[in-house]
Symmetry: C2
Subunit: 163 residues, 2 copies
DNA sequence: TTGGAGTACATGCGAAGTCATGTATCAGCA
DNA sequence: TGCTGATACATGACTTCGCATGTACTCCAA
């Protein structure tokens, strides 16, 4: 009803601002964060696994670390070689494997996670108030909720929901 | 100000929501966008160059495409080989080069840019109102403004402590 | 003017990612 | 049961990126 034309410009400004903010902060976190010897993407896997009681499958991790299936497979292989995760056979599906944290992997996740959370909190609160953070969180959730759920780039028409 | 403890959780929720939203949309744009034969990162270079009358230097592009100096150098070399950009000698600095769009590069940028802008607008407006987009844009700018400005990691022996 | 430190860019090399494809398993149907 | 297509994962070939380093140029101070 209102001017659709003008909102295109506004929408792109908002996207670009969000994009740059994200990029800027990711850089800051990568650069002077306490990552120890785990790369940010590796930490992403450990973080995702930390909340999964029965482990996760390779395909589940794809959405968490923004990588292709092949990339996740190799990343998990590296983490396994370093003793941070373990590959177990999936009891329900002979093709799949369940990735779980080893106790060392859990230690690393907790240690890095705490430092990272502090860093994130510092970066966010130095710019936004609590009320604004709440609003930003809601915006983020709304954007994800409004997105078409199929994210896989191999099976193009996978319409399953995030568990 | 308010309880720092509780706001740590909120700040991390906001960060994660923003992170996921960005990742989700980037995926969507990459997957079913009209990129033609230019990768998203390559488009980032063309986009940055589109607004620069006198071209940009390699070091200017670093912040735009989120790559190291070496990465930008190679990326520009590829684009040059494909005839989309051109390297000119910088009249003011013999070490530097000014990257400018060729006419073909400008065409590609415009075509891809229009389609991309429409896609971005669609994704943003389907979740947020105009007022919310404005707020989100302001949040993004605030986050960038509050960040420690120079995060250049391209100078090899920069003053950083490897933990 | 000149020597040394700093900056802009390029490049060798290894790490890490994607694409295409292969193997094993699952699911549905005759 | 046997056949067909889809799914989960691994892997070879290739591309791309970062780190370390090299080269050429600029700037400044003595």
């Amino acid at each position: 009803m209102t001017a659709v034309r003008g909102s295109t410009r506004l929408a792109n400004e908002a996207w670009e601002a969000m994009f740059r903010a994200q990029a800027t902060l990711v850089r800051e976190f990568e650069f002077d964060g306490d990552w120890g010897d785990v790369a940010p993407r590796e930490y992403g896997v450990l973080y995702a696994l930390a909340d999964a009681e029965d482990g996760l499958r390779i395909t589940d991790l794809i959405d968490d670390v923004l990588l292709t299936q092949a990339g996740v497979s190799r990343l998990v292989a590296r983490l396994e070689k370093r003793g941070l995760v373990e590959r177990l056979a999936d009891p329900d599906d002979g093709r799949a494997c369940r990735i779980v944290l080893t106790s060392e992997g859990r230690d690393v996740q907790r240690r890095v996670g705490r430092a990272h959370a502090r860093h994130v909190a510092r970066a966010m609160t130095r710019a936004l108030t609590a009320a604004e953070l709440e609003t930003l969180r809601d915006f983020g959730k709304a954007l994800v909720a409004a997105a078409p759920s199929a994210t896989s780039q191999h099976s193009a028409s996978d319409s399953r929901n995030t568990a």
